[in-house]
Symmetry: C2
Subunit: 330 residues, 2 copies
Amino acid sequence: MNSGNEKYEKLFSDEISKIEKRLDSLLEKKKPASLYEPCSYILRSGGKHLRPFLVLISAKSVGGRFQDVYNAAVAVEVLHNFTLVHDDIMDNSSLRRGRPTLHKKYDLSTAILAGDSLNALAYAYLLKDCKVNPRQVISSFTNGIIAICEGQGLDKEFERRKNVSIKEYKIMIYKKTAALSEMCCSVGAQISGATPEQIRAVSNYGKNLGMAFQIQDDLLDIMADEKQLGKTVGSDLIEGKKTFLFLLALEKAKGKDRTDLLKVSHQKGIQITEIDKYRDIYLKLGVIKDAEREIMKYTKLALENLSSLPDNDGKNLMNWLANILINRHR
Amino acid sequence: MNSGNEKYEKLFSDEISKIEKRLDSLLEKKKPASLYEPCSYILRSGGKHLRPFLVLISAKSVGGRFQDVYNAAVAVEVLHNFTLVHDDIMDNSSLRRGRPTLHKKYDLSTAILAGDSLNALAYAYLLKDCKVNPRQVISSFTNGIIAICEGQGLDKEFERRKNVSIKEYKIMIYKKTAALSEMCCSVGAQISGATPEQIRAVSNYGKNLGMAFQIQDDLLDIMADEKQLGKTVGSDLIEGKKTFLFLLALEKAKGKDRTDLLKVSHQKGIQITEIDKYRDIYLKLGVIKDAEREIMKYTKLALENLSSLPDNDGKNLMNWLANILINRHR
């Protein structure tokens, strides 16, 4: 088991290095520099690179080869970076991966245009790998982008709304996060000539993994170790975000707990000194345990899809990745 | 000749009505409304709809049918509207087609996201018509978007730069304007199964028509009748824009004329009361005549490509359109 893990860890880091190398040199010497230099700034800012890895392992899981989907893998990462650049403007964020956000480093116009260019470049890279069924692959890619836009639209709408149900929240995170991981898996499999059943299986894996990932993000924000997390614990509460934990707590709370929770959205956030109090409310109401159960539920749903796939390194990597993600600290 | 013109005028207005109807109902009842209502706001704001018409007549010119490229025609108009929404933010414009720009009517975040959604929707509509050679069609579409982004990047860069040559200006307007009309023609022909020679011919028509169109825009801005133009004559000078006329005048001017022209860029624009003075400088230096010659040159280059196409209504419409555009007043 351990030696298998080591093998997959090495494979993961080797492949991510290759993707990073491609991202580094993607826009080298491209003109105008006033446009492409800012694009490179975000592409070279690191990140987990989970989405391109999903493309690679989905290809492998259906009998395809990494080398046939490298451009598609680059495409989903470029696409992801486009959404980060525009989201950071909409959320008025100053920092991304420990560096100034693109609109802070440059200016608003540059950031909007860099995002637009990254979106177009993502299509250009995807097209390089679309040797079979391009229409189907590009449809999946496009539907993924439409979902992300709708998810971001809902997220902004929820900021303004008083009541958001857990059901609505799940639709939002599906569109904003899980639809992209679903698409990454789908595209990787489609390019590799997968059967419709295989495409369905890996897409469902990606979707459920994405749901688990997002709820775990909400959980880590309040329960993680600050040093390991790499940012302020409790940021979501400080910003007054309606997370899975918050909405579930609000559904369960009565009396003073409810009044305290309602303050978070009325006052659009809390003070850093109040975080411990709110963590205690979450613990008392049992929403931490609920979130953990939810993460396990989605992870299990993701893994169930693997049984229909052939036994190979791709499938093993999908299994390994799901386990890595459950145990992550940031 | 006249009866032919009447026929084409009617055909133009009939087809544009069909496109407008499709644009009107495109996003009806789509959710979330907070995202799609703003998208509809811009799609229902009118405009000349020349780009979708280019798709239609290019299809027809190579023996295709309008009905097979309606979705592609809608796609290029949706794409064009995406660029307008984002450009208006970058240029800090308050009005578009006589109505508040999207970011003024709603807010910045809504406008960025609406633009992103329109971009994705454009691909979705294009895909509907990509029954043959989808990879080639979508590549042309994507390259068109990349060119537009680069053109807008150059345009913003030129605002900050002191010296811009006529050659650089032409590269900018090619990318910002003519690459899109070139792409419209190319896509219309490709979907209709045109030969490589036909695709080249209609693309060149679209490109040169786009160049003529943009230089004429610069010319109309200073020489048009204000009532016909529908906006303040001399806006480009008021905003300190480096237009074809301005850059050519700067190349030719000496002494006081040159000093006066340099003031336009140093002071980032002139007063409305100074417009007559600058028009006189343009007339004296002969740049009005130069611009007229340039428009004729590009229009001729556009029309030369038609000789290799079969004689049909598509080709006749391309001829008719070029003549209409030369004689436009706004």
